[in-house]
Symmetry: C2
Subunit: 266 residues, 2 copies
């Protein structure tokens, strides 16, 4: 009872109460580690990094490989091709993502800026949808890229309603994952967040230089939103006040998305 060390670093949210399922948790940790590594890994490395025995790691890898989640060449393992259909399934079928696309499109058209949908995942956020405004420069689309929560309008609005303990965890995670310098504190983080009462966040030159953005959260049933919509613009083509003038638009878009989410449908 109350084994707190069951899952250490990877498990997205330590959120509810972690049920058992030790072998599954361990497998997912191995899988997460393979992604983190960004290059093929040997069995012994994985075992060491994940803190489990060689036989256990090997068995896990074999099963993952059976399902295509992992590939093996010689003695090295890597993320396998089965993640592609999975991602496709998410992008095509997730009700939120599907509903978001036309809404983002509309906002992007109205404001002539890039509109994005981010989801919180653990102590990071990832881009799950984006529609470019008519600006000609569409940098490469980092769909699925892990971005910090500590920086950028989208990250900050996702933390706006976080508890002190959570900020603590986020700050720690950010500093250990390299998003922030070592020793980054929760207080520093808190000072970046939107003031109480503000329902949007603004950033300039935070995550990328020359980029302004504003973001509002997509309310969900829990108090803690895990999605947000952001508008982005290169600094040359918009000022802070320009972007902030679009906040009502954004708010409306988030509201519509939220309704679709909470509405009785499906």
């Amino acid at each position: 009872m109350t084994v707190s060390s069951t899952h250490s670093a990877s498990p997205a949210e330590d959120g509810p109460k972690a049920a058992n399922m030790r072998s599954l948790s361990r497998a997912l940790e191995v899988f997460a580690e393979l992604q983190r590594a960004e290059r093929p890994q040997r069995l012994s490395d994985l075992a060491r990094t994940c803190g489990m025995s060689l036989p256990t790691t090997l068995r896990i890898l074999r099963v993952l490989q059976d399902f295509g989640m992992v590939s093996q060449t010689d003695k090295t393992y890597r993320v396998g091709p089965a993640v592609l259909p999975a991602a496709r399934s998410f992008l095509e079928n997730d009700p939120l993502v599907v509903a978001a696309r036309p809404i983002l499109q509309q906002v992007a058209t109205q404001t002539a800026r890039t509109a994005s949908l981010y989801t919180r995942l653990g102590f990071e956020r990832i881009l799950v949808a984006r529609v470019d405004g008519d600006s000609p420069l569409r940098y490469d689309l980092p769909l699925g890229k892990r971005l910090p929560l500590t920086v950028g309008a989208a990250g900050k609005i996702l933390l706006a309603s976080a508890s002190p303990e959570e900020l603590q965890q986020v700050a720690l995670a950010a500093s250990t994952s390299g998003h922030e310098p070592r020793g980054f504190t929760a207080d520093e983080l808190r000072s970046r967040l939107p003031a109480v009462g503000e329902d949007f966040a603004y950033s300039a030159d935070e995550r990328a230089t020359g980029v302004l953005s504003v973001a509002v959260a997509v309310p969900n049933r829990t108090g803690r939103p895990s999605e947000c919509i952001a508008l982005t613009s290169p600094v040359e083509s918009a000022s802070e006040s320009d972007l902030k003038a679009s906040v009502p638009e954004l708010r409306r878009a988030a509201g519509r998305l939220s309704e679709l989410l909470m509405g009785s449908v499906y």
Copy 2:
């Protein structure tokens, strides 16, 4: 000892010897089912479809959710956002995919046709990379889409060296998954495959009407290749002989890829 019923339908290849890891296998089956379903699923549906008890299914879903592999809204579960970083990791880091891109590019440029890399996954194949020739019509890019092995040049070349039993399984899987009509037989399938001695496959109007393609396998260390390169062209801009004339090009490209794969590097 030789429990053969451990994993039933989903596990990509029944290939080697399936180690135990029951809970992990079951979790991956639930996950696969969520993808297949293409819409949010209730707990009881998943339990029934996957043939496991409610508590077990629930526990699995909770852990998957902790890691972001599954999302929940109200009482329905769906594929979660964590698959996006995973897919990104695959596309950016998989040595084969990374190595393939410039090679595909070169072939596409030389032949002015679309060059694609497919991977076999279970009894299907998926597109993992594509470079369009300068043809203006680039239909939507079905990266990660599950396509049949029984149809199209790419599918057929991947089956060229399959054993009779394997063809049997493939034929069965194709008919149950709807890729082929019910009652599709291994013999029918075999009659489509390239003649013995031929190292390429050709298709016209098979998977899509108006599309011609040729494919050659990427040899790997095992006798059974799981990747192939294909050239595709709309029927208006190429004849069968045009495409087949490019086979030597393709062969060379596959050879280079193969070397990179088997070479001692990394």
